[in-house]
Amino acid sequence: MSNRSQTLRPLGSWLEHHLPKVVLAPSFIAVLVFVYGFIGWTAWVSLTRSKLLPKYEIHGTIQYERLFAAPRWDVAMNNLFIFGGLFIVISMILGLILAILLDQNIRTEGAIRTIYLYPMALSMIVTGTAWKWILNPGLGIEATVRGWGFETFSFNWLVDPDMAIYTIVIAAIWQSSGFVMALFLAGLRSVDTEIIRAAQVDGIPTWRVYTAIIIPSMAPIFLSAFIVLSHLAVKSFDLVIALTGGGPGFASDLPATYMYAMAFSRGDIGQAASSAMVMMGVVFTIVVPYLYSELRAKND
């Protein structure tokens, strides 16, 4: 920019110079307000005695004390660990096995991959509706197996308070394992083929090549899959609502359904805010170290 044009069109050139900032500013402000400001609001309200309406005088950690004393929250957190643990581990194992099987020069790979992955395009509500019907005690899979001649077969997990949470595991794995397979398959394809060739020349058996070379080199993919799946687990809400509604009673509640019940049907904003903050704490202990290392790795 020459001096002359700057003096002639000071506003125009200021705008031209700062246009990138001006364009980014609304989004930045939106994120500041709607992400960080809102987290701050929720954090503040979680320290008050808010009930049906928010109040703003701080009363210390009373809501958190109530939360951790509530049997329903206890069930929800326990369920999160059961559900999250099983969902993550089984999805990863299944995804890895499928990826390795698909990596053997399968002629119909494209079609098979499409079939394995389509559940990921569905809404959790659709998935929940489908599995609710399949697992229906009486008309679902139970009737089918009885029809095969196993008259005493019984499968009523959906209405069994001790087992309801596992129906959510079943449906969630069905929905997400194909996606984990796709992640691992991409990882397998990015392993250096030279090393594999060399190992083969040396006469190392295929399974050893996988366990000793390929799988260890995919550590970053395992980490991403773990992050994505644990994130999905903590946020799981739709699937529970559609499949069990949190029931029987509140036997299959997760923190997300607890928070929603407190916010919108119980009118207990203080509890809703404090449970949301705990959920965020769980997500952050998993995600923040990961994001930090990612960003640092990129800057190096």
């Binding site: 609304p26 928010p54 990921m120 229906n136 397998l188 809703a272």
Partner: protein
């Protein structure tokens, strides 16, 4: 795609190899059946009469195919007290998704362009702050957002839902475009600047024409997210503005009258059709979005 099949020759007979190959295909086929089973059950159940459902078998094909359940699902099923089927809710979802997808994609493209090509001090920090927003559990913003929408006078309206989806979609759309534009040499921008092209001119004539793949990825990602959303839909809508996922859940869990499983399944398929269609037509881009959203590059 690189070929890295592992030859399984050593120490195995030809017959053994063929048997192993067969076993492999059988296992893959069984898993395909497992993934397809729920879809199969949904479709067949939706084509059966209630009578057949009660007496028949979950896995059997319908004896008499009937589309009654589909007709009911589309225009007669009850969501609570209202019995108009899912048709109005399907259109609600369209009215929410289309503007929200377009707006968040457009803003994401501009943001990504700034962050990748017009780096200024603090731009990376802003990007990191936006990225962080992708990871929060939305429960933490539900309460204040409900209040804000009320204050703005758009609580329970479709514009309110569009607003929410645009705001919380920005992190991902910015990420997609930023990661795409970062691979375009900055010399291109510099040369265009020397030639006197301005910020928008460069975006419009250079970057946008190069962006078709990432636009497709972003639109598909956003459409799938917004169409399938339930949390925002159930929290911020009211009787007339609910998206289809909320209507589906209400139909399935309505306790009045006879339980019509065939109608439930038809409704579920209708709710799933748009995203399934996108997946079938543009699966490659869908997968790219999924992996870009998780493995950031």
């Amino acid at each position: 795609m690189t070929d890295m099949s592992l030859p399984q020759t050593r120490g195995r007979s030809r017959a053994g190899r063929i048997a192993l190959r067969w076993l492999l295909y059988v296992i893959l086929g069984l898993f395909a059946l497992y993934y397809l089973m729920p879809l199969f059950v949904m479709v067949t159940t939706s084509l059966k009469s209630l009578e057949e459902i009660r007496t028949g078998d979950l896995m059997s094909l319908p004896r008499d195919v009937t589309f009654d359940a589909w007709a009911t699902a589309w225009s007669g099923a009850c969501t609570g007290i209202q019995c108009e089927g899912v048709r109005p809710f399907f259109w609600n979802s369209v009215l929410i998704a289309v503007p929200a997808v377009l707006l968040s994609t457009l803003i994401g493209a501009l943001n990504g362009y700034v962050v990748a090509q017009w780096r200024f001090r603090g731009a990376n920090l802003i990007f990191a702050a936006m990225l962080f927003g992708c990871f929060i559990p939305f429960q933490v913003v539900l309460l204040p957002m409900a209040r804000l929408l009320g204050l703005m006078g758009i609580a329970g309206t479709i514009p309110g839902l569009i607003f929410v989806h645009v705001i919380y979609g920005l992190g991902f759309t910015t990420l997609f475009f930023r990661n795409y534009y970062v691979t375009i040499p900055s010399e291109l921008t510099k040369a265009a600047k020397v030639d006197g092209a301005g910020f928008f001119r460069i975006f419009w004539s250079i970057f946008l024409p190069l962006s078709l793949p990432i636009i497709v990825v972003t639109i598909i990602w956003q459409f799938t997210q917004i169409w399938n959303d339930f949390l925002f839909g159930v929290s911020f809508s009211q009787a007339g503005t609910q998206p289809i996922t909320v209507a589906l859940n209400n139909i399935v869990n309505s306790t009045t009258g006879v339980k019509e499983y065939n109608v439930d399944m038809a409704t579920a398929i209708i709710a799933a059709l748009p995203t399934l269609l996108v997946y079938v037509v543009a699966g490659k881009y869908f997968i790219r979005g999924l992996t870009a959203g998780s493995v950031k590059g």
